[in-house]
Amino acid sequence: MPAVQETVERVKRIDVDQYRYGFETLIDSEKAPKGLSEEIVKFISQKKNEPAWMLQWRLEAYRRWLTMTEPTWARVNYPKIDFQDIHYYAAPKPKKTVTSLDEIDPEILKTYEKLGIPLREVAMLEGIEPKVGEDDPARRKIAVDAVFDSVSVATTFKAELKKAGVIFMPISEAIREHPELVQKYLGSVVPTSDNFYATLNSAVFSDGSFVYVPPGVRCPMELSTYFRINERNTGQFERTLIIADKGSYVSYLEGCTAPQRDENQLHAAVVELVALDDAEIKYSTVQNWYPGNSEGKGGIYNFVTKRGDCRGANSKISWTQVETGSAITWKYPSCILRGDNSRGEFYSIAISNGFQQVDSGTKMIHLGKNTSSRIISKGIAAGKSQNTYRGLVTAHRKATGARNFTACDSLLIGDKCGAHTVPYIEAKNSSATFEHEATTSKISEDVLFYCIQRGLSQEEAVGLVVNGFVKDVLQQLPMEFAVEAQKLISISLEGSVG
């Protein structure tokens, strides 16, 4: 069945030439010279005022990177990247040491305003509580860490978070202020030798967010990082590390945009999540990097390694992603289910238009007993794009009672694009129960039957089940991101293929 007209129009509205965040901020910046060498690694480390152990860590990664080759297994095509033709560090030139919001370059503030990022709330950073009646109940508080090219320019609500014991700061600061935590956890989920891009990131990462939630604390507000690439010829290599200590909870979200440029820019981030006993981390992404123009020129190469480690018993990590941007996406947010009874979730909507190439999915690695995971993926390909779901579900020999449910649907709009599904399902013990579905009609016959019995058509029932499910998760996103996401999920499932 072909896609219905309504769906076609909705996808067209977010086509590549409709990109709304393509403006550029003119601002003085300080850049490292092009190219990559030990000197550059040292330069970045020095800029960040890092202790010696951190520099050593970076150099080891750099030396390792020199011996590695780029992965070629993903279903993406692009000209070879010249890693010596990139600035590995770019930062807005600071006027002076920034201590409050007013001292941040107004151009940067304006940029975030234009992007709709709630930096106005930064006022509250200074402890000025909103007057009674001024507080909009629909608008929840969100602490934002704004990363502009290679540096974090502002982090809001620090004081209030501190009161709760939550540490939320740029990772460059955390390396200086909480070296014991960083040393203990950095690279423990994604080791420096993990893969080509993760190793590169380990050598040259400049900033990113660091979160530590102490035992038993429920983080009082959403934490968020907004990534913006502004400078030309630069790569952004951010590193995020989130640790949820025993019995804690945190919800974190990230957004990303970049100006419209003819060249391709590299974004190679690493995100590490650690959940200890009974902890829960919810990580949401709205990825909207510049996807290139309608001829396929320009756009961001988004080569990202994201992995969560359910290290403790009864822990839970949930990934939610809405992917609409980037010329090329190469991204597999994964969960290592190490603790007994731990749970991993992955919800994804990936929409590709123009000449975009998406190769994304997840890995659920069941190691502990009675671990469970759920994967819901929706891929929509339009224009001349290629959209691939690639996922791995594996149960180790000792992971007795492991359970997985996977449903991945894809939808094609037009005959110039492609949608692909590449799941790997590995069961290594008999008590593992895996279910993988890629047809909409097969999503829980019981539930469908229930709906149909109450007068819904098959199509409505399927829409209700899947949309309702995904919506449930997306509604947890803060308003700023939810608008975009809601628009995307309202896309009809009609005519979808496996």
């Binding site: 599904t421 799941p423 399902i425 013990n429 593992a432 993988h436 890629a438 047809t439 009609s441 496996g498």
Partner: protein, 434 residues
């Protein structure tokens, strides 16, 4: 993936093997040139290993390690043993073509009848005129090795409109130990023809042998073909078979494979729907125990619009066995109105058993309906309990449930006699288990 192939001592042994086998290989100097080219491409690639995506789960370097020397031409004693095996494994009423250790055995085959009915010739007879049969576009190393070393095989050309009521059974029998057999066969089915082909792989008191078989099938418009493959090799054998099928318009093609033996086996099928309005049904069962490794890899390529494909695959895995299913459905940009479904299920009977499933979809057309499903799990405890509560012993209750489980794939075989024959093999496997 660019992985440098390290030349091991074993690799060199294969080079010697080709040099020593060259004199025995049928074909004109032109054919030998094609073979040498194929062998050179094998030498560049070496045995497939896990870094090659298509062989991710079946690492022949680790599982097999080396290619054994070609088996000698069977002597009278071997043929005698083979004759007994033919009797034991023949399908009732079928016309037989027998290959013993990779050499066609005319005295065990129904040559006259099949020459008249199905245009039967042996591979050497065909190669004398044409090297085309050895050429493929594949870049797979085991297929290249097959082209280089194929000693014999059967070639069938079934005339347009021919209606063959009796199945044609091709029986591969191994009688030698520590030797390999390379065979390549072709089946060309004419327009509107109807035929059933059964391939059986068995051993006659042989151990640790290797089979590398290739079958090239082409099906003319409006034909109706059933193709059944029964792989029941000796417990320490290796069997790697590659099948290429090209299907014309309005064809009914029903393929079934069952693996019940061999230490390491792989069936790789490449099926292309090249004519509109055809219906393809591909089904398979893996029954594995001990440390057996069974791999079924199927690529169904919808190159034209309006075709239907159905794949049903079941694996039952006991002890420390390892079952692999890799299925890929490709829908080309023009192949609108394609209806493709694939369902694979694995039943793990032991905590050390392993099932790897990789059901892929590669879709380039927007008006299609494609889907796949995959499950893995143990026998349902409540069903087992139900049967045991009614007095069945554990093993028998399990056997009943396993039979029902694989039955979903076996019942796709339309012919009653053949279906019973296949059920018989499955039952014997279950008996051996208990």
């Amino acid at each position: 993936m660019n992985v440098a192939v390290a030349k091991t001592g074993k690799g060199r042994a294969v080079s010697d093997l080709f040099a020593s086998a060259e004199g025995r290989l049928p074909g004109s100097p032109d054919v030998i040139a094609v073979r040498r080219e194929a062998f050179e491409s094998y030498e560049r690639l070496g045995l497939p290993h896990r870094r090659i995506e298509e062989w991710k789960y079946t690492d022949l370097r680790a599982l097999v390690g080396e290619v054994l020397p070609l088996a000698a031409t069977p002597d009278a004693a071997a043929l005698k043993r083979a004759a007994d095996a033919v009797k034991a494994h023949a399908v009732d009423g079928a016309s037989k073509l027998v290959l013993v250790d990779g050499v066609f055995a005319a005295e065990l085959s129904d040559v006259k009848a099949l020459a008249a009915e199905a245009g039967f010739k042996t591979l050497p007879e065909v190669l004398d005129k044409d090297a085309g049969l050895l050429k493929t576009t594949s870049t797979d190393a085991v297929i290249a090795l097959n082209a280089a070393l194929a000693t014999d095989g059967v070639v069938l050309s079934i005339a347009d409109g021919a209606q063959l009521s009796a199945p044609i059974q091709i029986i591969h029998i191994a009688t030698a130990a520590s030797a390999s057999a390379f065979t390549r066969s072709q089946v060309a089915v004419g327009k509107g023809a109807r035929v059933t082909i059964v391939e059986t792989f068995v051993a006659a008191e042989a151990g640790a042998y290797q089979v590398n078989d290739a079958v090239i099938v082409s099906v003319g418009d409006n034909a109706d073909v059933a193709h059944i493959r029964l792989m029941d090799d000796a417990p320490d054998a290796v069997n790697v078979t590659s099948q290429f099928v090209t299907i014309g318009a309005n064809v009914k093609f029903n393929f079934f494979n069952m693996t019940t033996g061999a230490a390491v086996s792989r069936l790789q099928g490449f099926i292309m729907l090249a004519g509109e309005g055809s219906e393809l049904s591909v089904n398979g069962v893996n029954l594995l125990k001990k440390t057996e490794h069974g791999d079924t890899t199927l690529v169904v390529d919808h190159a034209v619009p309006n075709c239907v494909s159905r794949e049903t695959f079941r694996a039952v895995i006991d002890d420390r066995a390892h079952s692999v299913f890799q299925g890929r459905i490709i829908v080309r940009p023009d192949a609108q109105k394609t209806d493709g479904k694939m369902m694979t299920r694995a039943l793990l009977l032991s905590d050390e058993a392993e099932a790897d499933n990789k059901p892929e979809l590669e879709i380039f057309a927007d008006d299609v309906s494609c889907g796949h499903g995959a499950t893995a799990g143990a026998l349902d405890d409540s069903l087992l309990f139900y049967l045991k509560a009614r007095g069945l012993p554990e093993k028998q209750a399990q056997a009943l449930l396993i039979q029902a489980f694989v039955g979903e794939a076996i019942e796709q075989i339309a012919d009653d006699t053949l279906r019973e024959h296949v059920i018989g093999i499955a039952e014997r496997w279950l008996e051996r288990r208990s």
